[in-house]
Assembly symmetry: C2
Homo-oligomer: 204 residues x 2
């Protein structure tokens, strides 16, 4: 039938390794550059994964110029600056607090929801925040799917980043992600333990 019927086995073990079992957060990056076309491709891949009502609240700022990096680095927690300093790109992942403006384009059947969201900042923060975080998960795996390394960091001055980069816009920073290629030495730290299924999974 269609290509949708041709993948009963999912990913092979090397693809699973690249995304999950063998992928590590990178501590030090090589100087190998990442092009703007590669960065755009990250979105072109990640955007297909699902969001609540297809509303896609995630927005991306790729900081890769010397000037941009100079503005961003002081706003990261001190312990995170070294890692970001070696990365050719640091992405700021934001949620758009006016994601509902896209309803006519992405979810026209929800036109009744548009004025409701417009008048309810808490609902926007909750709904947009959840789907933007889902999309951040997709994005980290999309970076890896493209053969790049991703190093997400939650420790930074969100209000400072919003003031420096998003003043006068509806973008609200949520996470920063270093993107690049691993250094040939000291790229990785030993992996930290993950919870076992018996601590996480139940059945009913």
């Amino acid at each position: 039938m269609t290509a949708l019927d041709d993948r009963p086995l999912g990913l092979d073990s090397s693809a699973r390794a690249a995304l999950f079992t063998d992928a590590h957060t990178v501590q030090h990056f090589s100087p190998t550059p990442v092009s703007d076309a590669q960065l755009t491709e990250i979105w072109d891949l990640a955007r297909w994964a699902p969001t609540a009502a297809n509303l896609q609240p995630l927005r991306l700022l790729f900081v890769r110029s010397a000037q941009g990096r100079e503005r961003l680095l002081p706003l990261l927690d001190e312990k995170n600056r070294d890692r970001a300093a070696t990365a050719p790109v640091t992405a700021v992942l934001a949620r758009d607090d006016r994601f509902h403006d896209a309803i006519p384009q992405v979810a026209p059947f929800l036109s009744g929801l548009q004025p409701v969201l417009d008048g309810n900042a808490e609902m926007r923060a909750q709904m947009g925040g959840y789907s933007a975080a889902l999309q951040a998960g997709y994005l980290i795996l999309a970076v890896r799917a493209l053969g790049l390394a991703a190093g997400p960091m939650a420790g930074f001055d969100k209000a400072g980043v919003d003031a420096e980069f998003f003043a006068g816009t509806s973008w609200r920073s949520e996470l920063v992600v270093n993107i690049g290629h691993p250094a040939t030495e000291d790229a990785y730290r030993p992996r930290m333990p993950r919870l076992a299924a018996e601590d996480v999974v139940r059945f009913a």
Copy 2:
């Protein structure tokens, strides 16, 4: 060197299609069962992707018995019941409000954070909520990586699900995800539009 150095190109196009470009939310599932071992494997894959401070707040309840499904279906929004009724499994994704209890095991270097989180419910909800949503994104792609179809649904009675399945525990439901194999007919609806890079991506 190690396997970590052997994947400069990331996933091939068929693997990218299986996860992103060709993957659709399933509306109707086939009766093909999904085993408890397959469901456990979803966690064994998704758990390797990163969370803030490695705290892994996501918890999973896989509802697949006739009795469990009877308890869950009435708590879904009416429009979502048909889809869930054909799925062999519906997963309830929750965040553990006591995720900080695992700090000695998963992030011993953060022992100072444990009492802080214990005394600050808002910080737990924010920190745990964000990483649990990131992990929900990983999980949806892990389902697909295993050759299964995922159908996430945000519309359900969270308080009702918590009372029915998580009473007396620290689990808080956030999302439900149908899991199974696509039906041979009517499995998919036409795909809804995604935002273009020019609406989502900026550079600095």
